[in-house]
Amino acid sequence: MSAHEQFTDDLALYALGSLEGVERQTLETHLQNCASCRRELELLRGDTSLLALTTAGPKPPARSRQRLMSAIANEPRLPAVVATRTPERRSWWPMLGWLPNLGWIAAAAAVIVCIGLLRQNSNLRQSVASLQAQFTDQGAKLDQTTQIVATLLDPEATKIELVAVGNKPQPRGKAIYQRRNRNLIFFASNLPALPAEKIYELWLFPANGGAPIAAGLFKPDARGGATIVNPPLPQGVAAKNFVVTLEPESGSHESPRGTPVIVGIGE
């Protein structure tokens, strides 16, 4: 049995998606009641796929495969919803035969989808809770670090150095240097008050025996304390030693000219 004669041309256009307007609406109405035209439409769709399959061209670029695999690796799977349609119910358009079961099908699908969404929701909640815990932990660590640094650098903080009983406090310094990131923290204490038109200067002595590198000018506070944090330094210089010298007020910069005040003794 073939399709109804008056719809044969329109069925071909409909299979191609080229039918429009009233003709499309009329055909769709007819299809709801005509199994033979529905069958002919499926065959016509098969015919259109022949056109697609005869298409030849270049292969997709390799990046498309990489893009897809990255995307599926990053995308959580939705629960599978298995279609349970019978052959007569497989089609593009709603058919009359579906209607009595449509409610049950929709309800079953909704239940399956809801179960899936609930599972997904649960997984997402666990992920969010885990991320929140990590965030809180990181935040607490950051707060702690910030407080430590703020305490060390606060000029108002009380800084008292303890020495052996009976000993007179001596000028001291401690340099903590991280070559990889060029981080340098330097603390000094008990430095003598600066003479007029003089300043202290910190020097980094490279391990390769190169010329000393100026690592900052500083003036001590009333207790002889001073701090230098991350002065500008060249990349990747290994330090052999640090020295503080007393220099003219403008500093020496190129090489130490003044008297060494404190000298590193190594680790």
Binding site: L53, T55, P60, M69, A83
Partner: protein, 186 residues
């Protein structure tokens, strides 16, 4: 007589089903295998329609992502994977061409197919016959068919573009499609 779209060999169909089953369980290597098998078909169709490699890649990505998300959308009892993907690729590419939202979910695309061929080689020979039929088709008929299929034009637009009556365009398209079907029956 019922004439369908040529399908892959039975063992290939089994492999497709096995891959789809593995994809259902989240097997990424199965997805890669399916992509390697059919990405050329999908990309060729999309590129033919869109004439733009970037846009064709987007369609390729979209279709395989949809398959990853909804592997149950493929129903092997009514169509082989190659034909199904080719039709979906054409739909998606036309949608992209017209910058509109997809009109059909992939699970709604049914292509009537019978496993008429015993091997991929048989399928290749059949495709050659179809290509031959296209090449021997009267140029106005072939042109109307291709404008409708690869350019996504409506029959009114084709009639306007060619200056032919609407009824002539309709008949050319239908008889053109039927001639493709007939060439496989001979």
């Amino acid at each position: 007589m019922k004439i369908g779209v040529p399908s892959a060999a039975p063992n290939a169909i089994t492999s497709d089903l096995a891959l789809v089953t593995a994809i259902r369980s989240g097997d990424q290597s199965a997805m890669a295998a399916l992509y390697d098998r059919y990405s050329s078909i999908v990309y060729a169709v999309a590129l033919r329609v869109l004439q733009d490699t970037g846009a064709a890649e987007d369609v390729l990505q979209d279709i395989f992502m949809q398959l990853w998300r909804h592997p149950g959308a493929f129903d092997a009892s009514r169509g082989n994977m190659a034909a199904w993907l080719a039709v979906i690729a054409r739909h998606r590419a036309i949608d992209a061409l017209r910058r509109r939202r997809p009109e059909n979910d992939i699970a709604d695309v049914i292509v009537s197919v019978e496993p008429d061929f015993a091997s991929d080689a048989d399928r290749s020979r059949a495709m050659e016959k179809v290509r031959g039929a296209l090449n021997t088709m009267p140029p106005p008929q072939k042109s109307a068919l291709e404008m409708a299929y690869f350019e996504g034009l409506t029959h009114s637009e084709i009639a306007e573009k060619t200056g032919e009556p609407l009824g002539t365009i309709k008949t050319r398209i239908r008889t053109g499609l039927l001639s493709l079907r007939k060439v496989l029956a001979t």
